[in-house]
């Protein structure tokens, strides 16, 4: 039942919103992963980010695609929690450590072992719209633990204009989505982070964006 609802939600409702109300300009769509396990890494400005990325992936990946999301935010009340887990299909992780041995990313390792596709926002939370916040190191750790898993960087622009943090009114804008070449863990976390940030900066540089202040 929930599977059907999830299918209807993403393949029909969100699709219509994304295609008619927003409108996407996608570059290098063919570089998106076609099978799991894989990680999609994107900058994060809006709740729409996850929705758009979910509609871009091929349909057969929908059941195995899980946006990695903060437990404290999305599970804060039962209704939101039901929606987040069953319909959006998030993989909830804790932003705090209980003790030293505790690894908040442990659910991600398991999920990747089950050939899932993870959507990961290394900025941690939706930053100021249309601005980069620096990436946190979790993604580098994931890459180190799973050097065989492709990590696909995706640059999103415009979604933060359409629905920024703290706003409920959606205003239509065409949005740009640039997909980069897959990266793989190298063994050095710093080196990986550097590569990832360079790759995102290069993708951001492909577009030409007017000011929005």
């Amino acid at each position: 039942m929930n599977k059907l609802l999830r299918f209807i939600y993403f393949r029909i409702v969100i699709r219509i919103v994304v295609m008619v109300v927003l409108g996407l300009n996608i570059r290098h769509r063919e570089k998106l992963p076609q099978k799991g396990p894989a990680i999609i890494v994107a900058n994060h400005n809006s709740h729409l980010d996850t929705m758009v990325l979910m509609t871009l992936l091929p349909g057969h990946l929908l059941p195995v695609t899980k946006p990695v999301a903060a437990m404290d935010y999305f599970l804060r009340n039962p209704v939101l929690a039901w929606f987040a887990i069953n319909i959006v299909g998030i993989l909830p992780i804790s932003r705090k450590r209980e003790n030293k041995e505790d690894d908040p990313l442990a659910p991600c390792y398991n999920s990747l072992k089950n050939n899932n596709v993870l959507i990961f926002f290394p900025e941690g939370s939706r930053g100021e719209p249309e601005n980069f916040s620096s990436f946190k190191g979790g993604i580098a750790k994931l890459a180190e633990m799973h050097p065989e898993v492709p990590i696909v960087p995706v640059f999103l622009h415009g979604l933060g204009k359409a629905l920024p943090k703290g706003e409920a009114l959606l205003v239509p804008f065409f949005c740009d989505i640039f997909v980069g070449d897959a990266l793989y863990g190298t063994g050095s976390r710093n080196e990986f982070m550097e590569q990832l940030e360079l790759s995102m900066a290069a993708l951001a540089g492909e577009g030409q964006f007017s000011s929005w202040e």
């Binding site: 409108g23 300009n25 719209p129 415009g158 204009k161 920024p164 706003e167 009114l169 205003v171 239509p172 804008f173 065409f174 030409q208 007017s210 000011s211 929005w212 202040e213």
Partner: protein
């Protein structure tokens, strides 16, 4: 009356349009065969997009009057969305932008109930006064003038101007002139788009003297004049079938549509040059965005409408 009783002349002209498309597809296929080493990707992409656009347009025209109106409203929506996505906007204006979008259904609603008085003043007067007021309530004064200017210019160009095509459609047929609004719409849109193609082809064949190099370096006097000539010729040929125009007025209509189309085209070119984008979007493969396709119409639609309205209604 909810359904357009589509006139025979309109139907035959639509068929002719598809004939033209088949012809251009055949010519492209032939060109590819004769010069296999040349790259015709853009040309065939363009023609493919034309097939899609003409098919959707035909369906919209044939289904019902209200479907046609929604179709033109959708064009306004896509055009202004593209415009607002490429120009600089202010974060504080999110709620103002919402009203810019809301003006579209309202404007097309006035058309659907054939309220000419409201249709003609709603954007130039009411929206013109309302948007700055809404901005002032939000209170952001930095770049206020740029914001009111750009938003209202966008509304006038993409919504007010284009909605004139829709008002042409709801003009009633008269006794001597059975094709009615659908005929006028087909006449205007065909000539405007055909003029673009004709100017392009003449420019490619004979183009030497640049007409407006600072704005559009590829446009030439030869292309412009060739387009004006061809379009006027077609205007004279088609006016008997689709419009009530006399010979003299059909010549003037041809000159008006081709010249206005050219000006609309270079106006949007100037906008894109100012912002620094090549194509306004990627909606129509080979053409660019929707703005690149409706640019000429933003000038030809209101001018042709008021020309017809003055002489015949």
């Amino acid at each position: 009356m909810n359904y357009l009783s589509v006139d025979n002349n309109v139907l035959v002209s639509l068929l002719g349009l598809f004939g033209l498309l088949i012809l251009s597809s055949l010519i492209t296929a032939l060109l590819i065969k004769i010069n296999p080493e040349k790259n015709y990707t853009e040309l065939s992409q363009r023609i493919k997009s034309w097939w899609v656009m003409v098919t959707i347009f035909t369906l919209a025209m044939l289904l019902s009057r209200n479907v046609s109106l929604v179709f033109f409203g959708l064009i306004s929506f896509l055009a202004i969305k593209e415009y607002l996505s490429i120009i600089p906007t202010r974060r504080a204006d999110r709620r103002v932008l919402f009203w810019v979008y809301m003006a579209i259904p309202l404007q097309y609603y006035w058309v659907s109930i054939e309220w000419y008085g409201m249709f003609i003043i709603f954007i130039p007067v009411y929206m013109f006064l309302f948007l700055p007021m809404r901005m002032v309530i939000i209170g952001e004064t930095k770049d206020f003038l740029r914001a009111v200017g750009t938003l209202h210019w966008g509304l006038m160009t993409m919504v007010f101007s284009i909605s004139h095509v829709a008002f042409l459609l709801v003009l009633q047929p008269t006794e001597k002139f059975a094709a009615g609004g659908a005929g006028l719409v087909l006449f205007l849109i065909f000539l405007t788009q055909f003029n673009d193609v004709a100017q392009f082809v003449w420019g490619k064949m004979l183009g030497k003297h640049k007409i407006i190099p600072k704005v559009s370096p590829n446009k030439t006097w030869e292309g412009f004049l060739g387009g004006v000539f061809t379009t006027t010729l077609f205007s004279v040929m088609l006016s008997g079938v689709l419009t009530p125009l006399s010979l003299k007025l059909s010549i003037i209509a041809g000159l008006l549509i081709s010249t206005a189309g050219f000006i609309g085209d270079v106006t949007i070119s100037a906008l894109k040059r100012d912002i620094g984008v090549k194509d306004s979007g990627s909606l129509l493969p080979g053409h660019g965005g929707i703005l690149d396709r409706v640019d000429s119409l933003t000038y030809s639609a209101p001018l042709f409408f008021h020309f017809i309205y003055y002489f015949y209604y």
